[in-house]
Amino acid sequence: MPSWPEKTKYISKSTLRIDAPEKVTGRAHYASDIQAAGWLYGMILRSKWPAATISAINLEKTLQVPGIKAAITAKDLPQTVRFYGEEIAAVCGATKQACLDALRAIEVTAHALPFAVREDDAKKDDAPQVWDGKPNVSVSARGSREQGAVDQAFPECAAVIEGFYTTPVQLHNPMETHGNTVSWTDDGLTAWASTQAISASRDGFAGPLKLDHSQVRVITNFMGGGFGSKLNGSVEGVLAARLSREAKAPVRLMLTRFDEALAVGNRPSSFQKIKIGALADGTLHAFELDNYGTPGISGGDVELPQPYIYKVPNSRVKQAHVAVNAGASRAFRAPPHPPASYAMESAMDDLAAKLGMDPLELRLKNDSNEVRQREYKIGAEKIGWKEKYQKPGSSPGVVKTGIGCAGAAWGGGGASKRTQGDAQINPDGSIEVRLGVQDIGTGTKTVIAVVAAEMLGLKPEQITVKVGDTNFPPGPGSGGSTTCASISPTVFDICANALQQLQTQSGIADARGNNWFAACKKLGVTPLVVHGQWQQGDPSRPLSSSPAYGVQFAEVAVDTETGLVTVKKIVAVHDCGLIIDTLTLESQINGGIIMGMGYALYEERVMDDLSGVVLNPNFETYKLSGIGDVPEIEITLLNMPERGVIGIGEPATIATAGAIANAVFNAIGARVYSLPITPARVLAALGKVPPFTAVKP
């Protein structure tokens, strides 16, 4: 039965990213770089009201702006707007400047409605309803569960702690904004999309435009990041297509950075009241969670898988969605694990402190997962846990150092079983492998080249890889950390089929490696085209599987006078089954950690409750981890070939915030309960901020 070779030349080694040359020279064309002949610039007008009824949109003056070729409304009127930034209208024209002028000439008649943009405001009994007739708060049945006898169990505990841990709404903010360049042809619509899912993108055009799927072609050769926000069809794509159809010209419509904060998804917030207790020897005994969070006007991922990776015999979990007048949530890298891990791991360290126990010991006692047990031990040694661990707050001096850790599990990994692909092998020995997946920066193209090279006995440079076209055999969207585990067995299958046919046609028993060119030559003039699809392989040694785990340790220095948190080092120990390429894997883990650090220390979407706007729709005040903030990162990879290929994108980001938060607690001996852990919050936790009393005028 098929399984990965035991001895490998490329798999599990380091291979350079094959599309780097295009990226480092500027030759890589993203959706925003496509310059179709006669293309027009497109732009969207968004609601400046967080809630309103729009009764009229006058486009007369707009159409008179020089250079403007088309102007449309986004929806039929009357339109009920439910968040600041909702799409109202769109224009296209010869230049960006014309479009800017045109947007300002659109006249909108709106009746403003009351709104609530903060969770605590929306929860109030007299809060304006985000959806007519529907309460803002809805208890989640599937997020609520009970096990054992929690109320009896708490009094039995030797130590109990309570904490109110909160996480903010986080914005994906990929470097390339959302958008498409679209062009109508006789066959239908072609869209160069910045998407993580060309198939879903195609569906997103076909439906609203009333086209057959075969009439829509989506192309994504390069895209500038998504992190979950670009997994579906898009409002902006359909608007671009409608504009293009009316203007009879291709339209490039990319969102602005401002737009990204409003309307293309986010990670829901969480407000987690946790109570957790343990017996004297540290065994977890009782757990209670009351959580609410907002997915904006709608969306998922509010429910948290608590008590995350720990088994507690007596537990009660209650969770609720709170609707607010803000953009809907979308899947965001490992939803909803980062907030779950952050709060759970923080509670564990708080509990350890109450018990007077080393928090690593508490974990090893309560986390039975064999893989994580190994990973904790490796990581502890690398960070120097034994030498460095001291009781919370006992670090001397003004700048206090501390260490912390947290663990992860990502069960959603695995494979999309319907992945397919093909390869064309030419008589000159050149080979082109084609899959309808997309490389969102993870190194998908390189993975394909590595697997094909391995299986065919060639070099990765000899494999031409084509992805990102709905004309290719279908593959999954790049989400859930499933891509690598989907395409690797598929390419394995393609190569197996290719060799079989090549060997049959050429009469050469083994067409790999040195025999490759001779075997191909025997094809004569006709290339060989073979198909392949995902297969499991030998169940005892599958080609891919799930889940993946991972643990991370953080070492921080906290300036107790300025509140500044400096992450000095992250030690990350990860498993992802069979490693395909250590180099791109390392990049993925770096990326997950740095994003997790941003979640821990800098990122927060801020809503203004007076006006209902997003206050920080820019990189000035929505702060991403910068190169000056990035710590030393030391990575240990556990290669587990017997488990087959598993994805890493999401496991890499789950534990970071918890590890950092715990390191801060360990350093200063005081818990900052809310992310991001800003200097303001550190100083408050240290008791240095005088309580605010409103000054009477």
Binding site: L16, R17, T25, G26, M175, E586, I627, G628
Partner: protein, 215 residues
């Protein structure tokens, strides 16, 4: 975009060109002035142009780009939308992310926050201008070797910042690399590899500390 064809400078004499722009100082063409750009500036100084499109000549990667642009068009906009220089990217259009970084007279600047019309006469270098005869520059090669990129969108900006750094400081410390790249954002998290790439391009030996344990 659609360049409504400007009058080409080409075969015209300088005097004729300046005359065609309607300046009264056409006689300046015969004065001893270094470059066309400087002449233009002197001749056109204090002459109000716009708000409609006017001829703007940009020197990018050693070549002249002759465009018709409104004064409010930024350098980034001019490159990406009025010509085919799409290497510099638009990440924010607000001078906060660095994806649009180009070199202007060897200094890294945000092309999104510079008007094209005032970038005339300056030597502009973009990502497209680094490779020589198809050969990658040492910085480009180092980015490839150290996998200092993922989605690649921030990459041209970072490469320009690192290139400028190494020209001024051929052997930077990691802290100096961080200082030079502070104006470039990356969402994929390539920073550790970018620091490695900059050091490697400077000739320093760089090794990865990643350990692979075969379970």
């Amino acid at each position: 975009m659609k360049n409504t064809e400007p009058e080409k400078i080409g075969a015209h004499s300088r005097r004729a060109f300046l005359k065609s722009l309607g300046t009264v100082a056409a006689t300046a063409a015969t004065a001893q002035v270094q470059s066309v750009a400087a002449e233009l500036e002197k001749a056109n100084a204090e002459k109000t142009v716009g708000p409609g499109a006017v001829p703007v000549t940009l020197t990018v990667n050693g070549e002249k780009l002759e465009l018709m642009l409104e004064p409010r068009v930024t350098l980034l906009d001019a490159m990406r939308n009025y010509s085919s220089l799409t290497g510099a990217k638009e990440g924010c259009d607000r001078a906060t992310c660095g994806a649009c970084t180009v070199l202007m007279d060897e200094l890294p600047v945000y092309s999104c926050q510079k008007l094209a019309i005032e970038a005339q006469g300056r030597e502009i270098t973009t990502i497209e201008g680094l490779a020589q005869n198809g050969k990658l520059s040492p910085v480009q090669q180092a980015f490839w070797d150290r996998d200092a990129l993922q989605c690649g969108y921030c990459t041209p900006g970072f490469i320009m910042s690192v290139t400028a750094l190494l020209k001024k400081n051929p052997h930077p410390t990691p802290d100096q690399v961080k200082h030079a790249c502070a104006g470039n954002l990356c969402r994929c998290g390539t920073h550790p590899h970018i620091i490695q790439a900059a050091l490697q391009a400077s000739g320093a030996k760089v090794t990865s500390k990643t350990e692979v344990i075969h379970a």
